[in-house]
Symmetry: C2
Subunit: 220 residues, 2 copies
């Protein structure tokens, strides 16, 4: 069973397919062709078929794809058909935002606990999730079979906490701290660098402005 390596680009698109299929289900659409879906999603039909065929043949010639079936298959591929136990480290606004976002639980991500160093926050309960002292981190991870840790703390504290998480057996870090974590290769890190996202936005706004000015200059 040689697993062919799936490219990052393909994986990056899967959640978007999943989202669109979910919307189709809500609309009561039963089947869809790669072509119809390509129009909705503004990608090529070719890309959709290529992407899906990395994982198997989910469609049927002359028919297209059954929406519910494809939706369920993508869920399996993404691993969101299974339950993941998650903790949040850093109970500030961002940590609380994640804790309050109920959709994650619908996708199988169960938030089991939150951690902070601020004594004012420790003991508070958010949507049934208790905020604990970071001192309890390791014992909690082991006792509750935690796989994923969301890191919503300042970048200065992130490397130390990441080390502790790795030692405690965490398999994945959802990293919101503005730094690149160094972890062993069997630990997955998914970065959400908001400031980088905002800079990309800034670039695009600025380059648009330059283009417009260039056009205006040309007219004169």
């Amino acid at each position: 069973m040689e697993e062919k390596k799936i490219s990052k680009a393909v994986i990056g698109r899967l959640p978007r397919y999943y989202r669109y299929l979910g919307e189709l289900i809500e609309e009561g659409v039963e089947r869809i062709s790669s072509n119809e879906l390509s129009v909705r999603m503004k990608v090529t039909a070719s890309q959709i078929r290529q992407d899906l065929n990395n994982f198997g043949g989910f469609g049927q010639q002359g028919y297209g794809y059954n929406v519910r079936y494809l939706y369920a298959e993508i869920a399996k591929i993404l691993g969101i058909d299974q339950q993941h136990n998650l903790i949040i480290i850093g109970a500030g606004n961002l940590g609380q935002a994640i804790a309050n976002y109920t959709n994650f639980e619908r996708r199988g991500f169960l938030i089991k606990g939150m951690f902070d160093i601020n004594p004012k926050l420790i003991g508070l309960v958010i949507r049934g999730i208790e905020i604990r002292s970071v001192d309890e981190l390791e014992s909690f991870i082991k006792a509750n079979d935690i796989q994923i840790a969301a890191l919503t703390i300042p970048k200065t504290k992130a490397p130390e906490i990441a080390d502790r998480l790795v030692k405690a057996g965490i398999k994945a870090i959802w990293n919101f701290a503005h730094t690149d974590l160094v972890v062993p290769e069997d630990v997955v890190v998914e970065n959400v660098h908001l400031s980088e996202s905002l800079m990309r936005l800034s670039y695009r706004v600025s380059s648009r402005k330059l283009e417009e000015e260039a056009k205006k200059a040309e007219r004169n």
Copy 2:
């Protein structure tokens, strides 16, 4: 002056270069070669040189790159040498998290106001930023020369608000709602889809697990 089109991949990497250069400045490093930087950043030196040369020759043969100079030049490219006026729509945890993140202001993003529909939130002041009723949206945008709107509201409300923002003359939307916004082509949308990020993480955790199981099975 034909502007050659810069690829999305290159733009995506610029903020990371910027971050590493900032760290080098803090460390007191004056100059760096593409090769040294490539080791730190875990990319190829070739890629660094290619990326930078999209925008001009910032280095010097036999010397490398002056860290402060390159840092300043990338800031110009990203447009973060200029001030951007920003509003946040949706004053929930995520909106408040952004409002409280002071680093954005250091990069020239000035948060001028927050908006919500919840009467309990309207009137509150967060870090000097007042939460206003969404009714005041259009007048506020015009009166305060707002270019960027961060959208931290549920997906159901996002399309309607996006339309209003566009009509009010907003040039860029930083979209945290889990939906793809439809806007005219001169309006920039930068998406931050947290649930998609979490699914990518889930995929990677799940596929790691499968690989390990496959390896174990092979041994038997």
